[in-house]
Amino acid sequence: MNLSISPSLGKAALALSLVAILGGCATTGSPVVGGNVQYGDSKAVETVTNQFGSTDLQTIAESMTRSLLQSAVITRGNRPLVTVADVKNKTSEYIDTRSITDSIRAQMLKSGSVRFAVDNDAMQSQTDELIRQNQTGMYKKSTTKKIGKMEGADFRLEGNITSIVKQSSSIKDVYYKFSLVLVGIESGVIEWADEKEIRKTSSR
């Protein structure tokens, strides 16, 4: 089989590749299937409506974490054990406050300066697992995790989120205040507290 390219075909190919190089107009199929969906920037400032949104969640979590990192009990450097109690939603909206505390916890853990104990929500699965290992007789003795070895937290995080909503015929103003405290569990002393305020105004 003769594989040599005919001169005219070669010229055409050269011209095509030149066009592709100079014009950059060749479209390469993207690894995408489907229609009118676009992936956006998950960190972009979201201003679709003035209800509680992703930017509020992210900025609250970030500013609380950064402030907490500077608190005296954490800068001592002995990696205290913290647990997350409730953040009460006192606004008129539905807000998943657990999502905010989850972000705070993830960022705090990533910074490496604290440890977290299993909180109320996850306690059931923790005790279930311990009881199953110890009481069902199905596990090797040498690998069974002992009951009575869980560590008690030194501090707990708890807080509130409140809002003030004002509305006129043309303007809607929402003010959020997120407050968080770190309480010493043995002493009951509030060791750290901070607030994050957010104002959002929209006109119709």
């Binding site: 920037d41 930017t55 500077q70």
Partner: protein, 136 residues
Amino acid sequence: MTLRKHLAGLLAVASLLAASAVIAPAMADTIASKIEAQGEMTFLKITGLRQAVRNGLLSIQAEVTNEYEGQQTMYYRFRWLDASGFSVWDDEPWKPVLFHGKDKQLIQVVAPTPQATDFRLVVQSPENKTSPASTW
């Protein structure tokens, strides 16, 4: 063949340029070296920048001045880098700041982790001379 030669030449020039960019002497710690402005800000100016290490964490304070009589918005976020220039933290959320007319504001932040020894302040203002491509 000539095209290939041209391409090879271009590649050589490009790699030379890249190499010189790498070898270039380290930039002095000027304000400009720490700021990544997405387009030149027309009315908002970064007029001060200081850093200190407190409790093992890098603290930054940036002073931003609005030179305009009316309100201006700025979006910003920090990039946290280690000594080798690697990013040590996830992308931060963009944060909006509102400036009143002729307002001056201090942006204070603390690094999220002791690993962060360097930073870049990424700023964008909607009324930039050249707006960047939309992030949406």
